[in-house]
Amino acid sequence: MSQPNPEIPMLNVQIDGTWHQFPKGTRVIEACRQAGKFIPHYCYHPRLSSPGNCRMCMVEMGMPRMTPDRKPVLGQDGRPEIAWMPRAQISCAQDVAEGMGVRTDSPMVRECRTGVMEFLLINHPLDCPICDQAGECRLQEFSVEFGRGGSRFLDEKVKKPKNVTLGPRVKLDDERCILCSRCIRFMKEVAKDDVLGFVDRGSFSTLTCHPDRMLDSNYSLNTVDLCPVGALTSSDFRFKMRVWFLKETRSICTGCATGCNTVIGSREHKLYRQTPRENDAVNQSWMCDAGRLDFQGIDSLARLAAPRMTVDGDRTTADWTEAIAAASEKLRGVAAGQLALIASARMTNEELFLASKLVRSLGVASEHVDVLPRTGEADGILLSADRNPNTRGALLAGIASSVPGSNLPAIAEGIRSGRIKGLLVLRENPADCGIPETDLAKLEAFVAVEMLDFSPLKHAHVVLPSAAFAEKRGSMVNGKGRLQRLNRAVNPPGLARDDWEILRDLLAAVDPATPAFPQIEDVFHDMAATIPAFAGLSLGKIGDAGLALNQP
């Protein structure tokens, strides 16, 4: 909870017989939540407006009993006596008031909930066995908790469109919809793309898209998260895996410099979905579709699964000891001034820090080191113009030049002219950095740490297979200077290893005097002692919500 603002007056509210204080403007449902009383709801969402149309959050309310001269009647405890309203009220569209009383679990409230559940279930199909929402469905949960267990409805259920393609990533089953309008309000209020709405009346009310439009916003999949039932489902995740099998790993999205907090759902070392994780300082409760579906390359057939070496023109797979030794030998075989290193701003702080140590150990000139910048258009909601998740981390580690990417043309030119004879590429495609394949073939030493096998790598003397964002631990600094953690959800394929381990072993092979780093925590510890922005921090201190760095 945030610090109370002295400007806003505090109001006394009685909830289930106990008096609490809440700032003026708090919604009753929110006040009850803060008092530890959960009120079931469908349409209410703390980040959206309250239309009050699901009627599930009914509570009994009352106001102080007044004497004829408008003074509250005080009870024996000195508190106002409450005159209860004869009928239940919805708690999501009402702000707290001085002396207000709320009963969240009275017989009348319980009866209201049972009644509302019965109405909601009248036309709801009983297809939980095929519905993707089963297991995280509010309707399922509340019907167990508040429902009556059997239907008294004898007529035919209303038929509505099923399996409607609302947009490229979202499917709609109108029969399951309980008309809470969360998706409509999200598209209007947060995504600013008002394409959804209800048509027809009464039992035939149907959620639909504007006739000339599609639900194709980059934020469309948030409606799937918001949907309390299985009406909106993700075309990507649809029927892939039941949610109760998924192991949930708290991590961050690496699609852009925003670094949205995520939960990665995986089962038996296979990724199934990513969903946003609430963090007020970063992404509220949302994330964009592009970032959410960014994990799909991880299962790609082009994944490198074993170290690879080119010996006398023949490509062979190798074990790690051989490969690291060969990489170190190749790089040390080139004079320090003729070496270049291209790293990636998609790497974690720990990896970039080890890369900077490698730069010093190999004696690579600072103008021969840089990262590849990626930019796009910011959308004003979450997507950042910087599409690299850790540009700030690369700047802090001293790997990126002050204008990231400005050294790349010189490196490309150096390779073309033969002035640079050795190249170490970490997690980037040299072709994207302006180095054509014909020039790569001229290199005397070309070592790559990479996850996917792409064409320029056929010129590499040593290729070391590494891990994707969901397969490793580490930290990143987002565009606003917030330090956040990645966590491992699945194992890398085959012999592929975490990047920081590869860099640590390469560093130890190049420079035997480097200290041992048995764990990634040790790397962070060394980094905290070297880079002032990380001083006093540890990987554990970052926590799930991340923390803002002191430096701008």
Partner: protein
């Protein structure tokens, strides 16, 4: 407080063991003579002779998949059996029914359904949990194979053993 059980006091005859051994031999001899003169017939000459027709209705043999009277596979790949299975013998790969399928309304079906019979403990929980009544324990008990791979039964084999069961669920009609 320790609870002390006193050692039983044995008589001399009991200590000698012989009377008990002789008693046992008498019983064996009695059974031998009775079966020799055809008075009892306990032994079944399995596998030439079988007890199959006498198996009770609730006998729990191999778990199998069944189809309904319209030849529709009942399983909708909800994966509850996979979840409940104590030895994790069941593996399901769910898939989406194509739009031109006769049963497209059902939307979901198991692309692959495998039961590892070397893991199955015939507990019957899959049958109990199935919301579509698609999986039943049949009376097959002689489940053998020459390799582990052969003992993993795929969908085709499970339907072969399971066959058709009709009249239980009629949920996927238009009146749903």
């Amino acid at each position: 407080m320790p609870h002390i059980i006193p050692r039983p006091k044995l008589t001399f005859a009991e200590k000698m063991y012989l009377p008990a051994i002789l008693g046992g031999l008498v019983i064996t001899l009695r059974h031998f003579l009775r079966s020799l003169f055809g008075q009892t017939r306990i032994t079944l000459q399995y596998p030439e002779q079988k007890w199959d027709e006498n198996l009770p209705a609730h006998y729990r043999g191999a778990p199998t998949l069944v189809k309904d009277e319209w030849d529709r596979e009942r399983c909708v790949a909800c994966q509850l059996c996979e979840f409940i299975c104590p030895p994790r013998a069941i593996t399901i790969t769910p898939g989406e029914l194509p739009a031109d399928s006769r049963w497209a309304k059902v939307e979901k079906y198991p692309e692959q359904f495998e039961i590892d019979m070397t893991r199955c403990i015939y507990c019957g929980m899959c049958e109990e949990v199935c919301p579509e009544q698609a999986i039943f324990l049949r009376k097959d008990y002689a489940i053998t194979g020459l390799s582990r791979a052969e003992m993993v039964y795929d969908k085709k084999k499970l339907y072969e053993i399971g066959g058709v069961m009709d009249g239980l669920v009629n949920k996927w009609n238009d009146l749903k």
